[in-house]
C-alpha cells in the first residue's frame, strides 16, 4: 500500500478565551489516501472546522495548535516555515467553505479573486491568470462564464457563489480538497448539483477530499470512509458500508437511529437527547457519558481507550473494551 496522502496524529488545538480554554480539537488522528473521499461528521460546535483550519494552519488567536503531526506527502506541515505553508495553501491543499455568501470578498470581482489564486500558485501573468480563471469557471459549469467573471459576488446566487469558491479552490489542481459543510447553506436541489460537481471534479483531477458535514445522507452517497467526531475527539472510524451496517459507538448508533429510523430528521444531531458539552469544561471520563444510554459506572471518570474491533475500524468506548475482555 502507498503511504497515505495525509496522516494526522494527535492533533490538538485549543482556544484560549477569556471564558476559559476551549478544547476544540483534542488528539485527533485521521488518515486520507490519495483520491479518497473521507467524511468528518459531528454535531455543531464539536470542533470540525477547527480541525480543518488546523490542517491548513489557519488557526487564529485566541486559538493555537498545541501539538500533533500533520503529515502531508511525507512532510509534517506543523514544522514548515510559514512561507512554505503559504505556498501549499490553495496550491496542493485547497479549502471550500460553508457559507458562500460571506466567504467571497464583496469588493472584488469574481474573476480577480480566482485569478489571484492562479497567479500566486502558477506564476502566470495577469492575462494568462484571467484565462485560467475563465477555464476554472467553465470547469465548475457556470453558465455564461465570460460575463460572470466580471461580476461582483452580490450579483450571484448562493449556488453560483459556491461554484465560484470551488473554482477558486480547484484552480491549482490540489491533491487534497477540504470541504467544510459546502452545501449546508444551500437549498436541497442546489446541494445535489454541488455534490455531483465536486464528485466529477475530483474524478477529473484525482483529488482526495475531506468532507465535513452534518448530512449522513451525503456521506453514504459520496464518501468512502467516515470519522465521527464528538466534543473535540474522534469517537469512531470505519468504511462507510460497515459503519452504517454495524455502528460501534453509542453516539454513532444514536445518530444513525435518528437519521435512518422511522422518525428520521434532516439534522440527526438535534434529535439526540441532552446538551452537547461545553468544550471549555468537558465532562470527565468519556465525554459522551452524560448523554449515553448505555453508560457504565467507569465511563464517568476513566477516559475510554481506542479499540480496534477490525482492520480499518476504531472506536473510543468502554463497552467495546468490556466485549474484548
Amino acid at each position: 500500500m502507498d503511504a497515505p496522502l495525509l496522516q494526522v496524529e494527535g492533533l490538538t488545538t485549543h482556544l484560549f478565551t477569556d471564558a476559559g480554554t476551549v478544547r476544540a480539537v483534542e488528539g485527533v488522528s485521521l488518515t486520507i489516501g490519495r483520491g479518497e473521499a473521507v467524511a468528518l461528521v459531528g454535531e455543531s460546535g464539536c470542533g470540525k472546522s477547527m480541525t480543518a483550519l488546523s490542517l491548513m494552519r489557519l488557526v487564529r488567536p485566541p486559538g493555537r495548535i498545541l501539538g500533533g503531526r500533520v503529515e502531508f506527502e511525507g512532510r509534517n506541515l506543523l514544522d514548515l516555515r510559514e512561507e512554505e505553508m503559504r505556498r501549499l495553501r490553495g496550491g496542493d491543499i485547497a479549502m471550500i467553505f460553508q457559507d458562500p455568501m460571506t466567504f467571497l470578498n464583496p469588493l472584488m470581482r469574481v474573476g480577480d479573486q480566482i485569478a489571484e489564486a492562479v497567479r500566486l500558485h502558477q506564476g502566470l501573468d495577469s492575462r494568462a491568470a484571467w484565462r485560467a480563471a475563465l477555464a476554472a469557471l467553465e470547469l465548475v459549469r457556470i453558465p455564461a462564464p465570460d460575463s460572470v467573471i466580471e461580476y461582483y459576488p452580490h450579483q450571484l446566487s448562493g449556488g453560483m457563489r459556491q461554484r465560484v469558491l470551488i473554482a477558486m479552490a480547484i484552480s491549482s489542481r490540489p491533491s487534497l480538497l477540504i470541504a467544510d459543510e459546502p452545501t449546508t447553506a444551500l437549498d436541497v436541489t442546489v446541494q445535489a448539483q454541488i455534490m455531483e460537481l465536486l464528485g466529477d471534479i475530483r474524478r477529473e483531477l484525482g483529488s482526495a477530499m475531506l468532507l465535513i458535514t452534518h448530512d449522513l445522507g451525503l456521506v453514504a452517497e459520496y464518501c468512502d470512509r467516515i470519522y465521527v467526531m464528538y466534543a473535540g475527539q474522534i469517537v469512531e472510524e470505519a468504511d462507510v458500508g460497515p459503519l452504517f451496517a454495524s455502528p460501534q459507538h453509542p453516539y454513532t448508533r444514536a445518530l444513525l437511529k435518528s437519521t435512518l429510523g422511522p422518525d428520521a430528521r434532516v439534522d440527526a444531531f438535534e434529535s439526540i437527547s441532552g446538551q452537547p458539552p461545553d468544550l471549555a469544561r468537558p465532562p470527565a471520563g468519556c465525554r459522551f457519558h452524560p448523554r449515553c444510554p448505555e453508560a457504565l459506572a467507569r465511563c464517568a471518570h476513566d477516559e475510554p481507550p481506542v479499540i480496534r474491533p477490525a482492520a480499518g475500524r476504531q472506536a473510543r468506548c468502554w463497552l467495546l473494551a468490556q466485549d474484548a475482555a
Binding site: L58, R89, N105, L107, H154
Partner: protein
C-alpha cells in the same frame, strides 16, 4: 474596482438634489437677518452718529423699505449671481473677499485631513495586526489624549513649545515678507508656516481615524472572506492591505467626510491662534467687526462646502463599494 457609467449620472443627480438644500440655507440665512434685533443698517452704522435722513437713505438703497417677499426675491436673485453684498470694513465685495480666503483654508484643511487620515489609517492597521501589545496600548493612550484635547489649548501649547522656545517654526501667518514671493522659496516658506496649524488641526482627526480604523480592521480580519484569502495562499501583507483594508476603510470614508464639517467649524479657533489668513480667521474678524454681509456670506459658503464634501464622500464610497445602488 471599475468606474461604472452610471456614476456620472449619479453625481449629476446628487448635485441637482443639492440645489433645493442650498436654497433652504439661503432662506434660513435671510430670516436670521430679519429675526435679529434692529436691521442691517443699524449694524452697519453701529455707534456712528447718523442723521435719520441718512439712515432712511441707506434703507432705501438696500431695499429695506420694500415688503418682505420682495426683499427675499432680491436677496436670492443676488446670491444667484454670486453677489453677497459689500463689506465696508474690508472695502471689498463679500464674495470676492471670501474667495480670496478660500485657498488658505483649503490648503490647511486639505493638508491636515489628508495627512492625518493616511497616518491614522496606517497606525490603526498596525495596531489591529498586533492587538493587545504594548505598542497597541501606547498608541491607544496617545490617541485618547489627542481625542480629548481642546484645539485652542493644543495650538497654544505647540506655539509656546516649537515657536517661542525652540524657534523651529514661525508663530504667525502664512508667509514671511522677507521670503521669496514665488517659486520653490515660496512653497518652502508656506510649508514652514503650515506645519504647526496643520498639526493642531490633525491631532483630533488622526485620533478619531486611528481609533475607528483599529476596531474596523480587527473586525474585518476576523471575517470569512479574509479566511478565504489566507486559505488560497495570499501572503499576509496582501491579505491585510488588499483584501481587508478596502473593506475596513469604507466606514472611515464616511467619518472623514463628516469630520470635514467639524474641522471647518474648528477652523475659527486654529486660524485665529495662528493668524492663518483663511475663512475661519475671516469669520472671527467678521464677528468682531459685526460685519453682517461677511458673516452671512461665510455662512452660505461654508454650508455649500459641507454639502459638496458630503456628495464627494458618497461618490468615493460608491467607487469603492460596488454594492452601492444609486438612487
Amino acid at each position: 474596482m471599475s468606474l461604472r457609467p452610471s456614476l456620472l449620472l449619479y453625481v449629476a443627480r446628487r448635485l441637482l438634489q443639492a440645489v433645493p438644500l442650498v436654497f433652504v440655507i439661503i432662506l434660513i440665512n435671510f430670516f436670521l437677518i430679519h429675526a435679529a434685533p434692529g436691521d442691517p443698517v443699524d449694524f452697519l452704522v453701529g455707534t456712528m452718529e447718523a442723521t435719520p435722513e441718512y439712515l432712511e437713505g441707506l434703507r432705501r438703497e438696500f431695499g429695506l423699505d420694500q415688503p418682505l417677499p420682495v426683499q427675499l426675491w432680491r436677496y436670492v436673485s443676488k446670491i444667484a449671481v454670486l453677489d453677497m453684498g459689500y463689506s465696508l470694513r474690508f472695502r471689498q465685495p463679500v464674495f470676492e473677499l471670501i474667495m480670496s480666503r478660500l485657498p488658505a483654508t483649503l490648503l490647511l484643511m486639505g493638508t491636515a485631513l489628508v495627512v492625518s487620515s493616511i497616518v491614522g489609517i496606517l497606525l490603526g492597521v498596525a495596531a489591529a495586526r498586533r492587538p493587545h501589545t504594548a505598542t497597541d496600548h501606547a498608541a491607544t493612550f496617545v490617541a485618547l489624549a489627542g481625542y480629548s484635547m481642546p484645539v485652542f489649548w493644543l495650538g497654544q501649547l505647540l506655539l509656546i513649545a516649537f515657536s517661542l522656545h525652540l524657534n523651529w517654526f514661525p508663530t504667525q501667518g502664512m508667509y514671511d515678507l522677507r521670503a521669496p514671493s514665488d517659486g520653490w522659496g515660496r512653497i518652502v516658506d508656506v510649508a514652514h508656516h503650515l506645519v504647526l496649524p496643520a498639526l493642531t488641526y490633525s491631532v483630533y482627526h488622526l485620533a478619531l481615524v486611528y481609533r475607528l480604523m483599529r476596531v474596523k480592521m480587527q473586525e474585518t480580519l476576523a471575517l470569512d472572506y479574509v479566511t478565504t484569502a489566507r486559505a488560497k495562499g495570499v501572503p499576509e501583507r496582501r491579505v491585510v492591505y488588499v483584501h481587508a483594508l478596502r473593506n475596513a476603510v469604507l466606514p472611515i470614508v464616511t467619518v472623514i467626510g463628516l469630520n470635514f464639517g467639524f474641522m471647518l467649524a474648528g477652523s475659527v479657533l486654529t486660524e485665529t491662534v495662528f493668524a492663518w489668513p483663511g475663512m475661519g480667521r475671516l469669520l472671527y474678524e467678521g464677528i468682531q467687526g459685526r460685519d453682517y454681509p461677511v458673516l452671512m456670506g461665510l455662512f452660505t459658503c461654508l454650508s455649500v462646502m459641507v454639502i459638496l464634501v458630503n456628495i464627494i464622500t458618497d461618490v468615493v464610497y460608491a467607487v469603492i463599494d460596488p454594492r452601492v445602488v444609486y438612487r
